[in-house]
Point group: C2
Chain length 119, copies 2
């Protein structure tokens, strides 16, 4: 299947890559890997993400069915985010890619160093 490249397949692949290629998506998904988290926990856990980006990343992931949002109407309000089945399924290919990235990072770095040296 991977060797085909129908227009539909290309579209869905590019759609998915656009989503997981956005700056914070993978970090947020990985941060939800083992258990649900509150908004502020995510923010603290990730560290250098702005409120705005955390919010919009969560909205996008929710919209596409990767996470679900549970609101507890208390004072102060409490909102928990958790991976859905679809979100957990995504962890598989994501981890594959992540492992590949870690394993081959030195090859990319070497290529970049060569490119700079050749300038």
């Amino acid at each position: 299947m991977a060797t085909e490249h129908s227009h539909d397949a290309c579209r869905s692949v590019r759609d998915l890559l656009a989503r997981i290629g956005s700056k914070w998506t993978v970090v947020v998904v990985r941060s939800l890997r083992s258990e649900p988290r509150r908004f502020s926990e995510l923010k603290r856990d990730i560290g250098d993400i702005s409120q705005k980006m955390l919010t919009s990343t969560l909205r996008d992931l929710e919209r596409d069915g990767f996470i679900c949002r549970k609101v507890t109407a208390s004072i102060p309000p409490r909102v928990d985010y958790a991976l859905t089945d679809l979100g957990r399924d995504l962890l598989g290919p994501l981890d594959s890619l992540g492992d590949w990235a870690v394993a081959n990072q030195h090859r990319v770095d070497a290529a970049r160093a060569r490119a700079i040296a050749a300038e």
Copy 2:
């Protein structure tokens, strides 16, 4: 390994995702899957990519060691692009992700439809 998330690992994963998440990277790599191609062949094969984006995508991929560029100084000039070993290695995780995207596209579409219906 996948469950770790050291800072270095996160950086390399995000680096890679930024590259393959850019609009044309995957399309270009897939277009080079089976054999080397000339600039104009790539452009014709992909269709709706601009010269500028094809050039810069090829430059980035070359810089990171995923493809190599072979110039034949003739008139008219001829330039062939081919995947390197690193580029071919990337096809593996890329195909996994692609297969996942094709297989699960309907779930994402369904989630989006639900999100729109709930508005």
